[in-house]
């Protein structure tokens, strides 16, 4: 397995990341409504990624985790109505004019997509893919961009000869490394990784994860890691957000959240994850289905599937509240205190 070079004190870039005091990503009260739905797909999402911090955003399909990460680049579905604030390195991307938005997209924030085969135009050379973001926005000259692309390819464990190749001539794992290198071209303060290992085989997955962690350390970028894989989230992240039906169910430092979940949904997710050392037999699937977008949800989104639900859960949406003595660990549940240490906690 090729590993990237050891972290260097000087990142190989002419304009090192601006020492912004604020967080890389700061999402406040983000609410996104799509046409033809009864309730918002994202309903009051608050999320922060500090400079150089790794944050995992966990949830099942349709929970809104991808949309949350895409909103950092204002990649929104057509017809979406957006409220709230999404700051990338201090700039609210939701209110920027097109030119300023392009500048943020080509420098401040970048995304690593799920399927590298789909993300890279198969008809253009890889070198072209790497440089187009920065050259077409005027951030860098062509020669400078090509030189940096070569450096970054080496940093992700490839060599500069890949520049001349077409995407069809390299493997999926290699192409995902290319996509990661491309994301680093503009020297971003924020890297958004949207399930970057889902389309890869297991060995490539491990390589890509190790690479992302090493690069985050080396270049000092904040990393928002979107995944449905709890173990992966636990392994790589400082903090975790758990999303359910467009709302943040629980957030906290990774060890605390996984060791002592304070939201029944997190607990149920943990219980439904297969374990090597666990008892053999049927996995504990969560009964029921996630709520339909055509249904309004005045109460807690998880109430219909929750073993702890009472009448208040259907009536009133819970507000996030900190655990006693652990201000960082917050859960949006009326019954957090009943959960802690109870039988629902599978660990």
């Amino acid at each position: 397995m090729r590993t990237p070079n050891t972290p260097t004190p000087n990142p190989p870039t002419p304009n090192a990341p601006a020492a912004t005091a604020g967080p890389a990503l700061d999402v406040r009260g983000l609410r996104i409504t799509l046409p033809g739905t009864a309730r918002p797909v994202l309903d009051g999402v608050d999320l922060t990624v500090g400079a150089g911090e790794t944050v995992a955003l966990v949830g099942e399909s349709g929970s809104g985790k991808s949309l949350t990460s895409r909103s950092a680049l204002r990649l929104l579905p057509p017809g979406a109505v957006v409220e709230g604030v999404v700051r990338v390195a201090g700039r609210d991307v939701l209110t920027l004019d097109p030119a300023a938005l392009r500048a943020v997209r080509s420098t401040a924030a970048a995304m690593v997509f799920q399927d590298p085969r789909a993300a890279v135009n198969p008809l253009r050379r890889i070198g072209d893919f790497l440089t187009e973001g920065v050259t077409l926005t005027g951030t860098m000259g062509r020669n400078e961009a090509t030189a940096r692309a070569g450096e970054l390819l080496r940093a992700v464990g490839l060599d500069a000869s890949v520049l001349r190749k077409y995407p069809g001539q390299v493997s999926g794992g290699m192409l995902q490394r290319v996509v990661i290198a491309a994301a680093l071209m503009g020297d971003p303060v924020l890297l958004l990784a949207d399930e970057p290992t889902t389309a890869l085989d297991v060995t490539s997955q491990a390589e890509v994860i190790a690479l992302l962690a090493a690069l985050r350390e080396r270049f000092g970028t904040g990393l928002l890691f979107v995944t449905h894989d709890l173990d992966l989230a636990a392994a790589i992240s400082d903090r975790v957000y758990v999303m359910y039906a467009g709302r943040i169910a629980e957030t906290g430092p990774a060890e605390e959240l996984f060791a002592r979940p304070r939201h029944p949904y997190t607990a149920a997710l943990l219980a439904s994850t297969p374990r090597m050392d666990g008892p053999r037999g049927r996995l504990a699937a969560i009964a029921g289905m996630p709520p339909d977008l055509r249904v309004e949800l005045p109460g807690c989104a998880f109430a219909a599937r929750c073993p702890l639900a009472t009448e208040v859960c259907d009536r009133e949406a819970p507000r996030p509240a900190a655990a006693p003595g652990r201000p960082e660990h917050r859960a949006a549940c009326h019954h957090s205190d009943r959960l802690e240490g109870s039988a629902v906690d599978a660990r």
């Binding site: 938005l101 997209r105 997509f113 789909a118 135009n121 008809l123 973001g133 077409l136 926005t137 069809g168």
Partner: protein
Amino acid sequence: MAATLLVASFVVFGALYLAPGNPASFLLAGRSASPEALAAINAQYHLDDPFLVRYLRWLGDVLHGDFGRSITYRTDVSRLLADRLPTTLVLIAMSLVVVVAVGLLLGRIAAVRGGATDSAILVTTTFAVGTPSFVAAVLLQGVFAVDLGWFPSSGTGEGGFGDLVRHLVLPSVALALYLIGMLARVTRSAMLEALDSEHVTVARSRGVPERQVVRRHVFRNSLGTVLTTGGLIVSTLLVCTILVETAFSVGGIGQLLELSTTTKDFPTVQAISLIIVALFMTVNLLVDLALPLVDPRVTLGSRRAAA
């Protein structure tokens, strides 16, 4: 390609013999001829020989560039072709320029703008596709030659190349109309498909300006489909010259083919048919050779293996 041409030559040569009538009776035009005169004609054009012998003799001559003598014009067919082929090639070239320029532009605008612009272009191209070229010819002659007097209504002019081009404007537009509609639609749907692909979203997410996204990722990716259609377009142009040259009295090989078919001028018909087949095959060969340049996933080797 050589084998295909050989088969084509056989079909071209044989087809006319399946049609009713023969050149001798046409030459005599209903007059009763003495058996001696008939025998003389048959001997002169080798009409008495067995089919295979005539085919092989004809093929041998063609390989030496000799297409025989025209029965109606009483000159060498190669002379006739040398006079008329350039006119047709200019007509096709002009038409092709119009088709590619207007068709690509309309398709691109329809795909990128969408909405009312898209609908307007779709309706217009539906009319264009539905109008046969001989109907378009009459309409264009009526408006631009008779009413407005901008362009000559027929013929190829007396003067040099400029005059020829002026005479061929209306014919080339008549010829282009249907194909503009077709190319615009093909371009539009290929671009819409490309617009949907994830790498377009990725390019936008990296700050690439929308115009560049369209040029580099949408239009560029639709070119393979457009190029393949291009081969079809040129062959349609070749065939439709017959109608349009006749409608505008343009003395090219299309008109010549029409005239010589009605007069059963076997050598001329055979020569023109063979030339059209050869041009058609050349165009398709060029398209096949150009495809790997447009799409790196297509290599000549893999196409040959698939064929």
